[in-house]
């Protein structure tokens, strides 16, 4: 079985999805989905361990040798990202049980979990595959599943949010497809490793440059890189709580991974520097951090506030990629992991509030922090992590990012990173003020603490925020190994 881990990670959730869809009851569907997600997390952990101890894994699908057959190629980079995705899924599902029963009609629950597993299949598939066309297929599997998941939100705006995401997501995926086609036309290959050897010979061609540009824009759309983020705030705001938690912690992260893979493995290291790509990343990153953070401050809906904050966090990762140095890539990967932890924890805590009061507008949550102390505690620690207070995971990200920026003597970026933290203080502060210091609005009924089943996964992620803020062996260690593979994109 050990030889087939890479394939099992994709096949197990894929086969489980239709099984779950035909199960008669919501609870049994949940149980199967949870077992599958937990199994995937264990498999992803084993895979990362195998890669770290024995080096990169190459799995030939159906025994067809690459570059003709599809190859799954796993090294420290994608093993790390696959573990993040699978682990978040395994933590989200226990949380899902009650939250989904509250937000989704009973007869749709099996279908909901089926879509969730398909989304997991797609995301894991993107991380596993070593074939750029296969990436497109998995990208669309995960995207189609997430459009359906988002549309299950309770407000009718969920439909328009899902529709908007579908249009922009499909344009992004099609741009990626055009880019892949143009590159294929000049190299005749789709295998990433094979392309890495073939592309240096044809880099001077306009077709390849155009293909590169199409791929970058296409992924930037999926990544919600400012100013291509317009689909994200609505999608995160109106999706069911569980879907927001899962997508916020995984979907954009996987897109960051694809971006790094194209820049670091498929194209020769340093190629991006001959194009305007790296400057664009820095400009988009800076603009994203500042503008999205300011937007976040003025939001009246807590989920939308956090969604804009996500756009800003993507900006930090774009900065790391834009620095194009080993330190920058390390910072981007560390932040990718840490941001999954903090946004996961925060969206879970907000989901717990929605579970209790059925809404999350700023004026409806006044004083709730005192009625729901544990949920409130999770928001405080998650918020501190978002700001980057020492002792939390967020601090580690900011630290590595600032170090990478100083190394490049990019003073504006340093200033922006620090300013981003200050802006985060403002919007997190606003949230805490509403939750704790504003007088309780009289709703007639007393609100009690969220159920244990919601609190335990939330606090699991909160503890992870603190743990990975103090012990950075796993995150930074693996990210440095990964950055060594992707290379500083600067020679």
């Amino acid at each position: 079985m050990e030889d087939h881990i890479s394939l099992l990670l994709v096949v197990v959730p894929l086969i489980a999805a239709p099984v779950v869809a035909v199960l008669p009851r919501g609870r049994s569907a949940w149980a199967v989905a949870f077992i599958v997600a937990a199994a995937c997390a264990v498999l992803a952990g084993m895979q990362l361990w195998a890669v770290l101890t024995e080096g990169a894994i190459s799995y030939e699908l159906g025994g067809w040798a690459p570059p003709w057959g599809i190859e799954y190629r796993i090294d420290a980079v994608n093993a790390f990202v696959a573990l993040i995705v699978a682990a978040i899924a395994a933590i989200t599902l226990p949380y899902a049980l009650l939250s989904v029963e509250r937000e989704i009609p009973e007869e749709k629950i099996p279908l909901f979990y089926s879509a969730m597993l398909l989304c997991l299949t797609g995301l894991l598939g993107i991380t596993q595959t070593g074939d750029i066309f296969n990436v497109f297929v998995f990208l669309e599997i995960s995207s189609l599943a997430s459009y359906a998941l988002i549309s299950l939100g309770r407000d009718r705006q969920a439909f328009t949010a899902a529709y908007q995401y579908l249009i922009m997501g499909t344009i992004g995926a099609t741009f990626y497809l055009i880019g892949v086609g143009l590159i294929y036309s000049q190299t005749g290959s789709l295998n990433m490793q094979d392309l890495a050897t073939l592309l240096p010979g044809v880099l001077h061609l306009k077709t390849v440059e155009t293909g590169f540009a199409f791929i970058m824009i296409g992924i930037a759309l999926k990544l919600a890189l400012f100013p291509l983020h317009l689909w994200l705030p609505n999608a995160y705001t109106y999706a069911p709580s569980v879907v927001t938690v899962f997508l916020a912690a995984t979907a954009t992260k996987v897109a960051v991974y694809v971006m790094l893979r194209i820049l670091g493995t498929v194209f020769p290291q340093g190629f991006a520097l001959t194009t305007p790509a790296d400057e664009l990343f820095i400009v988009a990153g800076i603009a994203g951090i500042v503008i999205a953070s300011v937007y976040a401050i003025y939001q009246q809906n807590v989920k939308r506030l956090l969604a804009y904050s996500s756009v800003a966090q993507v900006g930090y990762m774009a900065l790391g990629i834009g620095f194009a140095s080993a330190a920058g890539v390390t910072a981007a990967l560390v932040h990718l992991f840490n941001h999954a932890l903090m946004k996961g924890a925060l969206f879970m805590a907000v989901g717990a509030i929605i579970y209790r009061i059925g809404a999350c507008r700023m004026d409806q949550i006044h004083g709730l922090g005192r009625a729901m102390p544990w949920t409130f505690g999770a928001i405080v620690i998650g918020g501190l992590s978002l700001v980057g207070v020492p002792g939390t995971a967020g601090f580690i990200s900011k630290w590595y990012l600032v170090v990478a920026a100083l190394e490049q003597e990019a003073w504006i970026s340093v200033a922006v990173i620090l300013m981003g933290s200050l802006l985060a203080v403002v919007y997190v502060g606003k949230l805490i003020e509403a939750l704790y210091f504003k007088p309780v609005t009289d709703t007639g009924t007393a609100v009690s603490e969220a159920p244990l089943l919601l609190l335990v996964p939330t606090w699991g992620l909160v503890f992870a925020n603190v743990y990975f803020g103090l012990n950075t062996d796993l995150t930074v260690g693996v990210a440095e190994k990964a950055a060594a593979i992707l290379g500083g994109m600067k020679p």
Partner: protein, 119 residues
């Protein structure tokens, strides 16, 4: 010059379709028209791939006696996958439009916008 234009006629078609599709998606406020635009946009990419697979004097890639040169079958196979993805996307988009029509009573973007913000 004429050779360049005529010789690449399939690519001109691709570019025109691509622009028509993308422009429709961006400029139209009707949700169904947007989906149609998206489809035209995707179809242009299918044409692009099929064009890439052409080999001069090549026959259809089915092994038969007396034929030496075949077209490249791989882009065709890739595009079969992309067509499936496109169909699934269209189906999902239309399903969403149906639900939007049911809950808003309109499929015009600006009217939906007004309905959401007049509450």
């Amino acid at each position: 010059m004429t050779d360049f234009i005529v010789g690449h006629y399939n690519y001109w078609i691709v570019i025109i379709l691509m622009m028509v599709g993308l422009y429709t998606v961006i400029s139209r406020g009707n949700l169904i028209k947007k989906v149609i635009g998206l489809n035209i946009f995707q179809v242009s990419v299918f044409f692009l791939y099929i064009s890439l697979g052409t080999v001069k004097e090549g026959a259809a890639p089915i092994i038969a006696e007396g034929i030496e040169v075949y077209s490249n079958p791989l882009p065709h196979v890739l595009i079969l996958t992309a067509i499936v993805v496109g169909v699934a996307t269209t189906a999902l988009a239309l399903a969403l439009v149906v639900r939007i029509k049911e809950s808003y009573g309109t499929i015009e973007e600006d009217e939906i916008h007004n309905l959401d913000h007049s509450l």
